[in-house]
Each structure stands twice: as C-alpha cells, then as structure tokens.
C-alpha cells in the first residue's frame, strides 16, 4: 500500500483528508492538514479528488429518495402494540435534570459549571471559617441539616394520585404553571411552588381549591 507506507507524517495527514473536507477534525488536526496543504501541491491535488468524492457521495445519497409516508404509521402501530411502560412516579427528577442540562448550550453549561465551582469553593470557605470560629469560641455542634429551599414564593404540599402517570403530572404542572420546589418527602408529598412571590392566604386557598379538582391530585394543602 504505497501511499500509506510513505512518510508516516505525510500518510497520516493524507488519511485525514476526507474528514478535513467534511469539517469533522479537531482544531489541532485541521491546522496540521491546512499547513500540509499549503506547503505540498501534490497533497492539494489529492485533496481536490477527496472533494470530488464528497460532492458525488452527497449527490448519490440525495437521489436515493425517502421512505413512504406509511413508515411513520408503521412505527406508531408498533409502538401502540408495545406493553404499557412502567413509569416511575412521573416527573422523575433525574430525567428532568438531564433534560434541563441537555437543553443548555455548551457555552452556558461551561459558565454554569464555573459558577457552580465558584459557589462550592465559596461555601467551603464559609464553612471552614465558621468551624474555625466555633472551635476558637469553644461553641457547640448542631445536628440539624441546612434547608435547601429558598422559601421565596407561595407553596402547596401535593401528593399525586397513585394512578396518575408521569405524563399526567407533567401536563398538570405545565398547565397550572407549577414547579416542584422539594420532595418527595417521607409520605410521598411534594412541595410545589404556585407563585414566585408570596400570595395572600385567601388567594392561595382559592388556588388550592381549584387544583384539588384535578384528578392528578390525591392530596393538597397550603404550606409556608
């Protein structure tokens, strides 16, 4: 195999040409290929062959047509014939978190990660300073856990009906503009935020009364 056995560096670069033409190389490899193309006219000629192949492969595939409109029907017939899914209590917090993270752009995610690292470091610093201060003061230790709920807004406690599917609960939360603030607690209760600011007791009671009518709700009560 003549070309592949040439200079290792040259054959390595040449092997990357197809991926360079499509733009799927890393930045480092892209730079290596571009440098090599700039100094080697024969490699540049071969790259033109690669580009011809790329163009004609796309042309060929694009003329292959598409499946008939029945393809989707067939698929959903099969999906309908599937046994009902065992759904863990609907809004599965892990999945919701995965969905949330997946919806962030890489840049946002990078900034969020940096912010999270900063917050952790800040928190570690604060805890360390408190511990040192308490030790110096000969203070006592507490066994209570810190609260994670900011407590800002108006809340209810909800236990969802056992027969409610994850889909039902998600739709219910979305339709009523609710969000889960905490839970599930020991008795299967969730703390649900109904408004981002505090509401008068009467107004909150009216909301609870309205939500109580939904078949998804097994139990509901106001809470602080």
């Amino acid at each position: 195999m003549n070309t592949m056995n040439k200079e290792p560096e040259q054959s390595d670069i040449e092997a990357l040409l197809p991926w360079h033409a499509v733009g799927t190389l890393s930045r480092r490899d892209t730079q290596r290929v571009e440098d090599a193309l700039a100094r080697d006219p024969e490699l540049a000629r071969r790259y033109a062959l690669v580009r011809d192949e790329l163009g004609e492969t796309i042309h060929l595939n694009e003329t292959l047509g598409a499946p008939s409109a029945h393809a989707m029907e067939k698929l959903f017939d099969k999906i309908d014939a599937e046994p009902a899914r065992k759904q863990a209590m609907s809004f599965n917090l892990g999945a919701r978190m995965a969905e949330f993270l997946a919806s962030l752009s890489p840049r946002t995610l990078a900034w969020s990660a940096s912010a999270a690292v900063f917050a952790i470091l800040l928190q570690a610093g604060l805890i360390a300073s408190v511990v040192i201060k308490e030790k110096n003061a000969g203070g006592y230790e507490t066994a209570s856990a810190p609260t994670t709920d900011s407590g800002v807004g108006a809340f209810t406690l909800i236990r969802f009906a056992p027969q409610a599917s994850s889909d039902d609960v998600t739709k219910f939360l979305k339709a009523n503009k609710l969000s889960i603030a905490a839970g599930p607690m020991a008795s299967g209760l969730y703390k649900v935020r109904v408004a981002v600011t505090g509401l008068p007791k009467a107004e909150l009671a009216n909301i609870v009364k309205k939500l109580q009518q939904d078949k998804v709700v097994g139990f509901i009560a106001t809470t602080e």
Partner: protein
C-alpha cells in the same frame, strides 16, 4: 429559533412522550433510511428496517447515556439491523439486486464517460464499492461522522477506520481507472 436537541427528545421519549418520538423520526428518518438502503439495496427492506430502528429507539431511550450523539447511536442500531437482515437473505437474491441496482443508476459508465460526465462515473463507481467500503464512505462523507464516531458505529479502532477509508478510496480509484479515468492516485 432554537430547536429541541436530540438529547432532550430522547429524555422525553424515555418518559413515553410520543410527540418527541414524532419529532425525532421526522428529523432523522430520511438519513437513516438512506444509510440502510445503501447497505441492503432494497427499498421495501430498508423501509421495514427503519421502523424497527426507531422502535428500538423508543424501547431503549431510557438506557441512552449520551456517550455519543443521538444520530450516531441510531446509525449503530441501523447498521446492526441492516447486517442482520443481510444475513437472513439468500446470496442469490443479493447478487440479483446488486446487479439491478448498479444498472438502475443514471447512465452506464462508458456512456457517462463519453458524455464527459465525470461525476456520473464517480457515482457509478461509488455504487459498485463493496458494502464495507460503501458504508465507510457514506458515514464519513454523507453522515459527517468523525473518525471516533465511525469507529463507534462500525465497532473498530480509529486506526482501522482511517485504513478502511483509505482502501475504499483506493478501490474507487481502481474502478475509475477501469472506466478510463486515471486519478493518478494512490
């Protein structure tokens, strides 16, 4: 306008969301179909296989771990289904279809060459490559998969992917030469 990412759709599908399944299907079914069709060379079989591929996506969405792009994962499933279907079919049937398929493509190479349509000859030769070579050429050029992604789909080391692509292109040069086009490579 921001579209919902494939990863988000998969999370929703794992939760039983049929609408998310429709969106994912609409987004990818043509490419998956073409990938399968180039391997099995039979439109009816390819159409049956894509519904199987997406049914697997529906069933396995909860196990998807985002180690690869969703499209790469689906092409892996498609490849497995296509190869299994090929193994079930008698060789004679395959040979007949291969011959038919080659004849079906645009002009005859010699006619195309006579009319100086080098592109048509190149497409003819791309069609005449072996399944292994067609697959890698399509994954790299049409499905825009990186070396690592192709390695994941085909189940070989990255170095093998590069070598296989080299040999596919070398074979293409040989086929072109037989048709009177000398690329002076490799």
């Amino acid at each position: 306008m921001q579209t919902t990412s494939d990863e988000v759709l998969i999370v929703r599908i794992a939760g039983g969301d049929r609408l998310a399944m429709q969106v994912l299907f609409a987004r990818h079914h043509v490419r998956v179909y073409r990938f399968v069709l180039r391997l099995v060379r039979n439109e009816a079989t390819a159409e049956d296989l894509i519904s199987e591929v997406f049914l697997d996506v529906w069933r396995q969405a909860g196990k998807f771990e985002s180690r690869s792009a969703v499209s790469t994962w689906m092409l892996s499933i498609a490849r497995f289904k296509a190869l299994s279907a090929l193994r079930r079919r008698p060789e004679q049937e395959l040979d007949d279809e291969t011959a038919e398929r080659i004849e079906d493509q645009s002009d005859d190479p010699e006619v195309a060459l006579a009319t100086k349509d080098k592109g048509a000859v190149l497409r003819q030769c791309l069609t005449a490559l072996s399944a292994e070579h067609r697959e890698i050429v399509d994954l790299v050029y049409y499905h825009e998969k990186s070396v690592k992604e192709v390695a994941g789909i085909v189940g070989t080391p990255a170095a093998t992917v590069k070598t296989r692509m080299f040999y596919a292109r070398k074979k293409l040069s040989e086929l072109l030469k037989e048709q009177g086009i000398d690329r002076r490579w490799p």
